[in-house]
């Protein structure tokens, strides 16, 4: 029986941010702290049993994505996997193949955009591709953007803010035809949707343990065999994570990741159907009671568990304050550290006031109908209350365009 998530009286609906450990995962991990605690590099029995545990976990992970055993490397998380797959690969491509250009999407997770900034400062030609208002990459634009010097494309398979799902197979085809390697950040897709790396053809893939009811502090980097040379540290011990990531492997969390992957695979279809049903319930519950509601992201090509919804006329942080009994997140400027609107929503050209009103609700495998109904009530009540005191809502009700009103006033 897996654990419930009733954190006191607040209903958790931020599964895209992180997930609690499934109790079966925790149970699987526990022996590896005090009992089977050896260093996998040691020759004796303690080391061998530890190494066996890591290998067993690796098999479970590879099975989930149809990878080969030696193509799965444990890291500290998806962020580290992203760094290896972008920075190290580009460095190697510059040296060996004279490739100077790196492309990624404007809606990428910050960990990838930070890598892009680093590469840019290092002299790499970095291009951020725009996306449509649905968050999807235009394939023709991608084809046109690839240059002779382009070495690598990195894209988020499922966007963490909107759930928009890119066409990974076609993107990879276009890139491979033009000699470009492909990395996908699959943090929000891994263990949630069907993923076959051989079928998609991607060269590198990142994933994270704590997004799939596994522990924090562990992730996975998939490296297609032929590409391992781009990420292998020169002179590294090939017995440790194939020479790609050095350091003593953290056995307990790797075991946890393996177990989480195993459970995710066996429960994938039922979990996916469950979140789809609840997504439909959530959206129809809200749109049935409120108008001027916008779902940000593609309505068809998405992972249903992430719902990015704008309650026009109200600001996101105030909505969260009013909806006291649910835990969600927002794309508004007030909720960011830099006082800027979510870069992903801005890149989708979503109007400023709508982006400020966005709430990201993400549904988990054990979220119940009652929890969704509570979320609907809280958000509808919050919206009605805040709309009553909103000058933006008055403008909308009067039929004027919000953008026009503020342009006339001389504001951006």
């Amino acid at each position: 029986m897996f654990c419930c998530v009733k954190l006191r009286e607040i209903v958790y609906l931020d599964y895209a941010a992180t997930t609690p450990c499934d109790s079966r995962v925790l149970e699987e991990m526990l022996p590896y702290f005090c009992d089977i605690f050896g260093n996998p590099n040691s020759m004796h029995h303690f080391g061998v049993t530890a190494l066996d545990a890591v290998d067993a976990a690796r098999i479970k992970v590879k099975t989930l994505i149809n990878a080969n055993f030696e193509e799965v490397v444990f890291t500290s998380g998806a962020t580290e996997a992203n760094k290896i797959a972008t920075i190290r690969v580009m460095k190697a491509l510059r040296k060996s193949a004279g490739k100077q250009c790196f492309i990624t999407l404007a809606t990428e997770h910050k960990s990838v955009l930070d890598c892009a900034d680093y590469l840019k400062r290092d002299g790499v030609d970095v291009e951020l591709l725009p996306v449509g208002t649905d968050g999807l990459l235009d394939l023709n634009l991608l084809a046109d953007s690839v240059k002779d010097t382009t070495g690598l494309l990195s894209f988020c398979l499922v966007n963490n803010e909107t759930g928009a799902k890119q066409d990974a197979k076609k993107i990879t085809e276009i890139c491979h035809e033009r000699g470009v390697l492909v990395h996908t950040d699959a943090t929000q897709a891994f263990g949630k949707i069907q993923l076959d790396v051989k079928e998609l053809g991607v060269d590198f893939l990142s994933a994270s343990g704590h997004k799939i009811y596994g522990p924090k502090g562990v992730g996975v980097l998939y490296c297609e065999s032929a590409n391992a040379r781009f990420v292998r540290t020169p002179g590294a011990n090939r017995d440790v994570e194939f020479g790609i990531r050095s350091g003593t492997v953290p056995i307990p969390v790797c075991v946890g990741m393996g177990k989480a992957a195993e459970l995710a695979l066996s429960e994938l279809s039922q979990n996916l159907a469950h979140v789809q049903t609840l997504r439909n319930r959530f959206i129809s519950g809200i749109t049935g009671q409120l108008d001027e509601i916008y779902i940000n992201g593609s309505p068809e090509h998405n992972y249903p568990g992430i719902v990015n919804i704008s309650f026009r006329g109200c600001e996101g942080e105030a909505i969260m304050m009013e909806a006291k009994h649910i835990a969600v997140s927002s794309g508004s400027a007030c909720t960011s550290n830099k006082l800027t609107i979510s870069h992903a929503l801005a890149a989708m050209n979503i109007p400023a006031d709508i982006a400020q009103s966005s709430i990201r609700t993400s549904i988990g495998k054990q979220t119940t109908e009652a929890e969704i109904d509570l979320a609907i009530d809280e958000l509808v009540t919050a919206t009605k209350k805040l709309r009553a005191i909103s000058p933006i809502w008055d403008i909308i009700q009067s039929g004027s365009s919000v953008d026009d009103v503020f342009k006339r006033r001389g504001f951006q």
């Binding site: 006329g313 109200c314 600001e315 942080e317 105030a318 304050m321 508004s332 400027a333 007030c334 909720t335 550290n337 006082l339 609107i341 109007p351 400023a352 006031d353 400020q356 009553a388 005191i389 909103s390 000058p391 933006i392 809502w393 008055d394 919000v402 503020f406 006033r409 504001f411 951006q412």
Partner: protein, 239 residues
């Protein structure tokens, strides 16, 4: 987001939300901020005939700090004159609410909304009082009568005139009090009161001393009022 208890207390009050008809002459409206920065504040101030803020209301599209800042600001504004209102600084709001650095801009925006609302009120006043003209002679005579009879100003009211279908008869009477919904304007140091609905008809009024045998001694004409140039004045017999 960790807020101070004071911020939360003001946020939860939300007592001074709402607004007034921005077309009223004694209402000043200030709208500051933009959706791009995530805070839009609308402040409306209701002034009495002495330019004292009787009531302050707000609407906000913004975060908890923004709403709390406006709730506090409107509480402080009630009963203040224009000069006193301008003395409210953003630091007063920021300190009272214990705003963190990242939320300080909400208090700055609140201060801007106060200045904007006051400026709006003043520009309205200037605009309307230019629209009524009173000759110096008429002004002197009116002031004499006011101090003799203890009035605070003149009430302007209108009726359909007898001369033709588009004529209006303006009536002036001395008053000692003004009704709650009356609009107050000033020309040559004299206060004029009228109901907000007739504002458009007030524009273009000229008050002069009558020559000859006009009963109350004044002539009221409206330069925008065609074709009947001269509307008669009736004094209502109040003085």
């Amino acid at each position: 987001m960790k807020y101070s208890e004071k911020t939360i207390a003001y946020y939860e009050k939300m007592k001074n939300t709402g607004g007034f008809d921005e077309n009223l002459c004694n209402v000043g409206t200030g709208i500051v901020g933009s959706p791009l920065c995530g805070d839009v504040m609308k402040l409306q101030l209701f002034f009495d005939e002495n330019d004292v803020i009787v009531e302050a209301k707000y609407k906000v599209f913004g975060c908890v700090s923004a709403i709390a800042s406006m709730e506090l600001a409107t509480t402080l504004l009630r009963g203040r004159t224009i000069d006193e209102a301008r003395q409210i600084e953003n630091e007063d709001v920021a300190q009272s609410l214990e705003l963190s650095d990242i939320k300080r801009h909400c208090s700055v925006l609140a201060k801007e909304s106060i200045d904007a609302a006051i400026d709006d009120y003043i520009s309205k006043k200037n605009m309307v009082s230019k629209v009524i003209t009173v000759t110096n002679l008429a002004a002197d005579r009116i002031k004499e009568s006011l101090s003799e009879h203890g009035g605070i100003g003149l009430l302007i009211s209108i009726e359909r005139g007898d001369s033709c279908s588009s004529s209006l008869d303006y009536s002036l009477s001395y008053v000692t009090t003004a009704g709650d919904n009356m609009v107050a304007i000033e020309a040559k140091g004299i206060k004029f009161f009228y109901e907000p609905e007739i504002e458009l008809m007030i524009r273009g009024l000229d008050i002069d001393v009558a020559n000859g045998d006009e009963e109350c001694g004044f002539v009221v004409t409206n330069k925008y009022h065609k074709p009947c140039q001269n509307c008669s004045c009736r004094c209502g017999g109040k003085f």
